[in-house]
Amino acid sequence: MSFFSFGQSAEIDVVLTDAETRKKAEHKTEDGKKDKYFLFYDGETVAGKVNVTLKNPGKRLEHQGIKIEFVGQIELYYDRGNHHEFVSLVKDLARPGELTQSQTFDFEFTHVEKPYESYTGQNVKLRYFLRATVSRRLNDISKEMDIVVHTLSTYPELNSSIKMEVGIEDCLHIEFEYNKSKYHLKDVIVGKIYFLLVRIKIKHMEIDIIKRETTGTGPSVYHENDTIAKYEIMDGAPVRGESIPIRLFLAGYEMTPTMRDINKKFSVRYYLNLVLIDEEERRYFKQQEITLWRKGDVVRKSMSAQATIGAQRFEGSASSESALEKAAREDSG
């Protein structure tokens, strides 16, 4: 904005302490490209260095303060001006003054709460990032570094099967069964369709996975439906008493865990849609919600404590204070 500066007089970059060892995860950007970012879980510490490099080593850099922020925010695409920050931490690195040479500042955000999973969708984005800022009178110099957060869960205690009888009177009666109601992202949907009565001419049957992203509240709720998968399970006409098996491997599809009413701003839910198509292309369908959750990979011992905190927070059991203490003790032991 200043006419008298030709470009920035300094460069900032942020480097994590564990950049060599920390895993990266792929995450879709708003324009559909896939990028890799450092992967964090709830409760993990975010630590590193901020390097401020002066472009002209002789010239002094006056500033109003240097700080680093850790931000978790929700951005609704139709309301870009308003960012809803649900996590906002600040560390001051330097008081207002002067930099005579390039300098490096250490920072550590200890055991940061990251309650939700990173999500980039059709109408809403939830992201976490570090932002280092050198404040100046006319224009600040800042640098953002995005990270990706995954929320982990363990096998739910209660996971009943979905079993239902549906139909059109005197035309079509089916009984469908899916082995679980909660599936992890690399799980298999095992089920069957049992035909009790078939009086229409069925051409084929398929199972669709539908993702529904809901944004907004009250009167201005908006649902965005996206069919993630279409999987044909039967080709041809069944007869009464016939049973068609279902075996649908979820690992092949790009899905996120079910997200319910995140910070009261949005939801992402998944549905199985059983569709029967008759010879006149008429469609008969039954939709059923399923819950998706993310299973932790086989973790190294040092990571298991952090993952435990994350899992407990999701399950809602145990206070986070005692979990942190316990994890800290296990970690150092």
Binding site: K201, S243, P245
Partner: protein, 160 residues
């Protein structure tokens, strides 16, 4: 529960299928033929009727085998009744052919053999698509069209 690192892909239990169900006749048999066009009347009061024969084993139809005679305007009446009373998207009828009804044509107009055949095929497709629709099967007008000797235009519309 078995080893949680390997997905559980065992089949769910199914009732064994009864052989009479597996090899028995299908319970969704429905066939309607539109054939035998006959032109009746003289001069400007001529019109063509078609024989409409339905064979079915669906329990919703009272007669399992019925034969009636219908003309194009009867099909139009059925289409209008269903568009008004039911929520279904009614399939299209073959064209009204108004141009063929104008005078000073070189040919027979709507009584041309080729035209009647084209119309017959269209009507057959129309009635088969319609009669197979579960929501159309609930309407009295469809049953009256297919199985009553003549259509009572003053009937009370309703569900079966």
């Amino acid at each position: 529960m078995s080893d949680p690192t390997v997905a559980d892909t065992r089949r769910l239990n199914s009732k064994p299928q009864d052989l009479t169900d597996a090899y028995g006749p299908p319970s969704n048999f429905l066939e309607i033929d539109v054939y035998d066009p006959q032109t009746v009347g003289v001069g400007r009061n001529r019109f063509t009727t078609y024989e409409v024969r339905m064979r079915t084993n669906l329990p919703i139809f009272k007669l399992k085998d019925s034969v009636v005679r219908r003309r194009y305007s009867d099909f139009e009446w059925l289409k209008n009744e269903l568009e008004r009373d039911s929520k279904i998207v009614v399939p299209p009828l073959p064209g009204k052919a108004l141009k063929r009804q104008l005078p000073f044509r070189g040919d027979e107009g709507i009584f041309e053999e080729a035209f009647i055949e084209e119309r017959r095929v269209g009507l057959e497709q129309f009635i088969n698509r319609l009669a197979g629709h579960p929501l159309a099967q609930n309407e009295r007008c469809l049953h009256m069209f297919l199985q009553d000797e003549s259509i009572d235009r003053n009937y009370i519309p309703g569900k079966v």
